[in-house]
Symmetry: C3
Subunit: 239 residues, 3 copies
Amino acid sequence: MAIFLFTDFGGSDIYAGQVRAALLQYAPRQPVVDLLHDATAFNIRAAAHLLAALFNRLPSRSVTFAVVDPGVGGPREPVAAHADGKWLVGPDNGLLSVAASRARKFKPYAIGWRPKELSGSFHGRDLFAPVAAMLARGARKTARLRRSGLAVRFGPGELREVIYVDHYGNVITGLRAGSLAPKCILRAGGREIPHARVFSEAPQGGLFWYENSIGLVEIAANSASAQRALGIAVGDPIG
Amino acid sequence: MAIFLFTDFGGSDIYAGQVRAALLQYAPRQPVVDLLHDATAFNIRAAAHLLAALFNRLPSRSVTFAVVDPGVGGPREPVAAHADGKWLVGPDNGLLSVAASRARKFKPYAIGWRPKELSGSFHGRDLFAPVAAMLARGARKTARLRRSGLAVRFGPGELREVIYVDHYGNVITGLRAGSLAPKCILRAGGREIPHARVFSEAPQGGLFWYENSIGLVEIAANSASAQRALGIAVGDPIG
Amino acid sequence: MAIFLFTDFGGSDIYAGQVRAALLQYAPRQPVVDLLHDATAFNIRAAAHLLAALFNRLPSRSVTFAVVDPGVGGPREPVAAHADGKWLVGPDNGLLSVAASRARKFKPYAIGWRPKELSGSFHGRDLFAPVAAMLARGARKTARLRRSGLAVRFGPGELREVIYVDHYGNVITGLRAGSLAPKCILRAGGREIPHARVFSEAPQGGLFWYENSIGLVEIAANSASAQRALGIAVGDPIG
């Protein structure tokens, strides 16, 4: 089955390639897709909400390797979760918990498998990649999973914060569009933001919010950067 | 057949991975190559000239997914084109038109296929990726193509502007090298730029122009950034 | 066999995709992994040390395409090397020499094959990619290798300099951790840097050094950028 990668390893850095090399070794025939390597490094809650929105659209019978792991090398445990027919693998620091708690069926597992050599700083390569590969190959016994719980749970609710800013300057929030009144006014960066259905409905450069392609409330500006217009960043509140 | 991706989705953002996931679903056995995800987002004409130069070198029997689409969700139509044995798929906003009009044989098609769910802002994932996958698999009937024309055509001629700046700071223009007198002097950013054949022929840090590896006139500086030396950007004129 | 890419082509630029397209043409069935496309463009020695550390962990029976090549188009020759069961292919400018001289068994070869068209500025696409593909397919005769030597050799020793700064701001040096006394104090950017085993052992924001996941001495700060704290860059000395 396909393996999807969601990390803060950086799309242009030395880490994703090493994960790819490990996946190739443990699951040479499974396709691998880089979903995102630029999740916010030090905001696990924001990353968890973005992951949940992306994970929701992934095909069943897939494995998502999700690693935003500032506590690597510390006491947090590795965890796998089976959610609506799809696997999630990553650190038990809350990252998987929003996707997991929104699933209709959800089973978390502790991971018993350990590599011969485990670096202190790169469990993505040494532990999570081999386990994701095992699950993608259907070799669940090799991963030595046992039923467990999640240690950190952010819950399934909305996050009224900026969770991601894309390279166009669009500001993605942790609010699902279905949670808002259809044409309400949002408040962000001291401004009032009206609704528009699509970019081409808004005036050139004008700020608006809309339901983006992964179901979240996004603040955008037609042919301009909403992030620059508002001066806000990941973690800032949305009113 | 292989699928090549040319977009403004950003190489480190959440969009290319979702396109990859859609391609995997609709054409699981076709290889996919990221040609460029950082075409200039709001300059379709510049992107069209860069695409034409890259497309010219791609192997026949391939599909190029080309999406720079600021008007997504508005009235522009999706289009496919068969050019010298290779498919192009993308928005009918001029992006494909330079590559198309330089082809010896060229046939444009309207796309009749529509997905069950079409987001307002991400036709790359919802419409162009499935159609590119269908063409790569040879399932042209499924895509429901019918002969048509291009609504926006930039024509086959040269563009005397900066169309792309690479990460070394090399300044790529929309001029094909064959269109200039072999050793003429170029004017850009208020400077006169002599010709050199290769980087190692130019003095350390010195500005020069040469025919780059995709046949375009490029202004470079040996071991330095021409872009910084000239202070110019995409869209600026070349004299 | 798998092909690993190590270059300064930029992860978000037009070059890596063209290399991928060439590899697909010459070796359609071999998996390709992007190890790094952001090696420091104008510091071959730093790139050579980073390559050596990454190469050391790659699986045997693989080909590493290594291109940091500011002298492209000049007199430097292309070279291939067989090091401990793995191939390296790239310019003979020192880039391969650290990895090569640390191998137990090492044989360098001149490359006799030339493409019909060789651009002056992109031997990565035109020459090194086809040759890497030939070696990955086992078509060594086609590449026309003959035993030779390396023209530029940096030697197997340590480099007491910054060789790479990752996107978290971690500062990677050319010192292998085994070359230092286990808990010594390092000097960098006018500061004294103590040792810690893992990130979670260090105080929040505090600078420390540790053995990173590729065996090198790395200066980091828990949940902060060591690079910003020290104000240092690739090439700066480590004491």
